[in-house]
Structure formats: structure tokens, C-alpha cells
Symmetry: C2
Subunit: 346 residues, 2 copies
């Protein structure tokens, strides 16, 4: 093996395939593009395919994208992938995208990803459209008005400039929680709320308060916390240790906070659900990993991604996007029960 200059390890192009098959580059493009019926004979087509395979030909996507003016790439803007909910949204979106020959590139919002401030550059390729969670709306910046179709996930129906919208029936979910706990007999509540300012959490809070207001004799106190177990535990501990009659139920904006609330209860010597009911939201894997398992609201995260991608594809295709919001369901598990008999009534 004389190690002279490498024989240029450059990838084969459609022209190389053409040469090998004894046809023109155009014919290669036609055959491999699948639109050769009536333009190239079956025998020739087979020869081309064979040559392409033997050379290990892969079309240069940059060239194709340039030629076609589309990239078959969507950008998904989410707060952070370490949040299981968004990992699942991505999974759903990527699956539908793949079915249509699309790719999904992620733009986790800035605080999660360091100094990358340019969402366009993060793609490394031009984009055909954007799907964004309302929780990452702040990271949108110049994305809006960039002329790209924008699909918003779980966002305020009031805000504008959106090509399509995929929403969860969050309000209904929270109503189910309220009814569940009221039905068990609870009257004194704490709402352990996410400190994140976003449509979806605003709805949770508003709906809970509205639902509880309908029933006389109820009280609810709202406590905000950052979205992690530790913060949830601290916030819940403070609330539970506060003077005055103790709440019998803690309604959390998220399973993560609920896990924190459960730990707080245990530290204070309270049993869940006997002394205190706790409910979560999202039905993450966490919900069935903790003890007791969390009563929570199952959100079809993958479906959100799927519908979001489908909506974007529809918009790109000038079709109307399928409207309607996705239903959600309460999953009653071990963290909720009737309040203790000795609980002082309000």
C-alpha cells in the first residue's frame, strides 16, 4: 500500500452515476426521482438504479434543497427536551415528519442551550416552517414575521399571526381535577402553580379557581414554584407548615411539582393520600414512579407533536389544518382520597 495522495474520497454525484450507466445526468435525476414513466425505458431505468446502488450514490440534499427552494425541514421550538413532555412532543412530530420525508430540527430555548441566539443558524439549513410551544414563545423573536408558516402548540387563541394551532383541552382537564377532589369532599385547597408565565398555566389556574368558586365553602390559595421537584417541595413545605387550618388537597400544575408536594408531606409527617391529597398534571413517567402513584391528567403529548406537524404540512400544502383541540383525561390513582375525617370544615 503506497500511501500517496488519496484518490479524492469525494462522494459520487448524479453525474458519476450517469457516466457509469451510460446516460445523461438528467435521466438519472428522472429515474431516481421516480418521474420517468414514459420518458425512460424500463431497461435503462434499471441500469441507472443499478449504477446508483453500486456507487453508493446519495443525492446531495443541499443541492436539491437549493434547486427546489424547499428543505423539507421544520423547526420545533420548545423550552427544554429534558422535560419529558416536550421530548414526547418531538417524538410525535418527528414520526409524522418522517412519514412525509420531512426532518425536524430542534431549537431548545436559549437558557437551555447557551449562547446560540440565532434560531435560523441553529437549523444549519433553511426552514420550511416552524412549530412552537407557547412555553417557548419568548424564544421566538425574529422567527415571527420571517415569513415562515408558524404552528403554535397549546397557545392563546387570541394571539395572531399564526397559521395553525394545536391545543389541548387543558381547561377541561383541570375541571376534571376539581370535580374529582370536590366529589371526594375536599374544600380547602392549595394550588401549587408553575411560576412560568405561559398560556397553558394561566388556563390551569383560572379554570381551577373558577371551578372551585362554583361550590360554596371552598377556599384556595395559590403558591407559585419553579418547575422542579426541589422547588415544589420547598413551596409545599412552607404552605403546609403555615399557621391556620391545613389544606386537605394540593392541586399541582405539573407532575414534577406534585412529586415535590408529596415529599414535603412526608417530611412533615403527613401521609398521602390519607392526610393530604395531591394531584399532578401531564402524566409523565414520574407519575407512576413515585409512591403513591399520582392522580393526574394525562396529556397526549405525542399526539400534540403529530397534530402540530400534520398542521404544518397542511399549511405548506395550502390545505386547511384540521381544527379542534385534543381531549385530556383524569387518571385517578393513589395520591387522592377523601379528606381526613377530623379535618376542620371551613
Amino acid at each position: 500500500m503506497t500511501s500517496a495522495a488519496q484518490p479524492a474520497p469525494t462522494r459520487p454525484t448524479s453525474r458519476d452515476v450517469a457516466r457509469a450507466a451510460g446516460v445523461s445526468q438528467a435521466s438519472v435525476s428522472l429515474v431516481l426521482g421516480g418521474k420517468w414513466r414514459g420518458r425512460v425505458s424500463e431497461a435503462t431505468a434499471e441500469r441507472v438504479r443499478r449504477a446508483a446502488h453500486e456507487l453508493g450514490y446519495r443525492p446531495n440534499l443541499a443541492a436539491r434543497n437549493l434547486r427546489l427552494g424547499r428543505t423539507r425541514t421544520a423547526l420545533l421550538v420548545v423550552p427544554a427536551l429534558t422535560n419529558e413532555f416536550f421530548a414526547r412532543v418531538y417524538t410525535g412530530a418527528a414520526a409524522v415528519a418522517a412519514e412525509h420525508g420531512f426532518g425536524v430540527v430542534l431549537y431548545p430555548s436559549p437558557d437551555g442551550i447557551g449562547p446560540a441566539r440565532d434560531p435560523f443558524a441553529s437549523a444549519s439549513a433553511s426552514l420550511d416552517g416552524v412549530i412552537a410551544s407557547s412555553m417557548a414563545a419568548g424564544a421566538l423573536g425574529e422567527l415571527r414575521g420571517a415569513g415562515l408558516p408558524l404552528v403554535m402548540l397549546d397557545s392563546d387563541p387570541a394571539d395572531t399571526g399564526v397559521a395553525a394551532r394545536v391545543n389541548l383541552d387543558i381547561a377541561d382537564g383541570m375541571r376534571q381535577v376539581a370535580e374529582h377532589l370536590l366529589g371526594l369532599g375536599h374544600r380547602r385547597f392549595v394550588h401549587l402553580a408553575s411560576a412560568v408565565d405561559s398560556w397553558t398555566f394561566a388556563v390551569r389556574g383560572r379554570t381551577l379557581h373558577d371551578a372551585l368558586r362554583m361550590v360554596p365553602g371552598t377556599s384556595v390559595r395559590t403558591v407559585p414554584a419553579a418547575l422542579d421537584v426541589h422547588a415544589g417541595r420547598i413551596a409545599a413545605e412552607h404552605t403546609l407548615a403555615a399557621p391556620g387550618p391545613r389544606p386537605t388537597a394540593i392541586v399541582c400544575d405539573d407532575d414534577i411539582l406534585a412529586a415535590g408536594a408529596c415529599k414535603a408531606a412526608r417530611r412533615l409527617g403527613l401521609r398521602v393520600p390519607d392526610d393530604l391529597s395531591v394531584t399532578g398534571f401531564d402524566d409523565l413517567a414520574l407519575a407512576t414512579a413515585v409512591e403513591p402513584e399520582l392522580t393526574t391528567v394525562r396529556l397526549p403529548a405525542e399526539q400534540v407533536g403529530e397534530r402540530g406537524m400534520a398542521a404544518l404540512l397542511a399549511v405548506l400544502d395550502d390545505r386547511p389544518a384540521e381544527p379542534g383541540s385534543l381531549p385530556v383525561h383524569l387518571v385517578a390513582r393513589g395520591s387522592s382520597a377523601p379528606p381526613p375525617a377530623d379535618a376542620p370544615h371551613a
Copy 2:
């Protein structure tokens, strides 16, 4: 508003900028590319920048990629993003990539993402390199030998055709677990092992067995389980309910399995850690969400991604990749304690 044909809402190109600034397209490219020193006067450069800004010019990345023959895009091949570990690996990789103007596109392995069998297409753009977890090695297929630089994460040092490798010192981690439990007095172990066939799990098993063999009077039984809480619980329940002397410690390949083992213990009326010690691996958020908090081995997941991306960048740059494996540390928490006093000795 007469709704005639739209005035072609086409994105401005560098030629449009050139026209607006009264220069040639080449000058625009030079100025915006930052290599104009001594070729274009400062005044002209300023005019170009102004025009570009006013037109809202964004370079067409497909064209740039075609021209340069590089895409500044890396593919990250992982089993599934819903696994927090890999979400964190992605986060780290994306952060380093962003610092260097690179993008990271994901290829979650097939069972997670449906019918997309072509990793190349999933990118929607040609790739400069690939970073792959050994846990997703099965999905690699044609990626190998495609002539792309390949960086493997946590993989067998023996396998070949790899441009660089980033490994965790998994063996040391497992040794720490063994020493911790042996030091507490445990002698009868169960190894709740991941059923996934991959280098990293093989090392965990082998190291644990080796470490325990060093101490006379120890026994260890290996039980495989799929990587979810439910499967872990079932497997652990079977083992704990089996006849013969009960193990005093369950060493798990993963925090998820450990959470399952804890639930199994509780169902059987065993207290953790009083009656049974349980250890995890990875230190996921889950580890501090459950009660008691898990004794586990913290893996610097983000760093794995960072080093992986840095290694790929080095390879692309013909620099040597920084070698060495990342250290890991035992985090002793509430799920491990000395065995019960009445535990029958082997």
C-alpha cells in the same frame, strides 16, 4: 384591497442586497462573510450591512452548504429522547455545536420513531459527521462506511472504524457501588440488569460481578428487565418473593429500574433502606423525586454530549480529539443502609 396576484413574497437574496447597496453580489458576500478587509472600503461595507438589515436579508443556507460542500450539521443517534439521559446528552452537544455555528439533528432509533428507516433523509440536509450512542448502534446501519466521521459515545474500545470515542468510566462507577454496599455489610445481592444489549450495560454487569467475587461469602443473582418502572417492579417482585434467603441489596443498572425495585419492596411490605438497599445508576431527576431518594451514580450526561461534539469538531478540523474517559461519582442517598441485623448470613 384588490386581491391580485401577490407581489411574489420571495426572500431577498444577496443580489437584492447588492442592488440596494449599489455594489456587486460578490461584494455583499465578502462583506457579510467578514473577509473584506483590504478588499472593500469601510464606507461601502457599512452601506452593504445597512441594506442587508433593511431588507431583512438571510443567507440561503442550502446555497451556502452547496457551495462550501459542508453543512455544519451533525447527526446525533440515540435510542430515545424520552430517556432523560439522552435528552441531556443532546443538550450538551447542541450547546457546543451552537458555539461553533453548528446544528445538531437527531436520529432517534427506529422503534421510537416509526417508519423512517433512512437516517440520511431524517436530516433533510447532508451531514458533516455523526455522533452515536452505543445503545443505538443497531440503528447505525448504512451510516457506517458512508464516509462520515463517526464519534461513538460510551462504546466498546475494541470496535473499529471510529474517528473518536467519548467514554464514561462506568466500570469505576459500578465499583464504587459495590464498595459502598460491601462496606455497609451487604453480602447477598441481586443485579437488576437492563435487558438492552449494549456495551455500557455489559460493563456494569461484568464489573459488579468481578468486584463482588473479590469478597468471600458474597452471592449475586442477575435478573434482566426492560428499561421502565413497571418492568423493573415486576422483575424485582419476582426475585424478592422467590424462596430461599432474601437478598439485602438490589443493584440496578439504571435509576428507572431502581424506582421499580423500590415499588416492589413496598408492595411486599419491605422498607427501603431498612430491610432492603436499592441503588440506581445515572442520577436522573427521578432519583431525587422518589422516596427515599436513590443512592446512585451520577453520570455527567451533558458533558458526554459536549465532549462528543467537541471531538467531532476536532476530527473535522484534522485536530486530535481530546482522549480520556469522564469520571463518575457515587452519590449516597437514602435508599442504601446496612442490612437488617437479622439477615441470615450466607
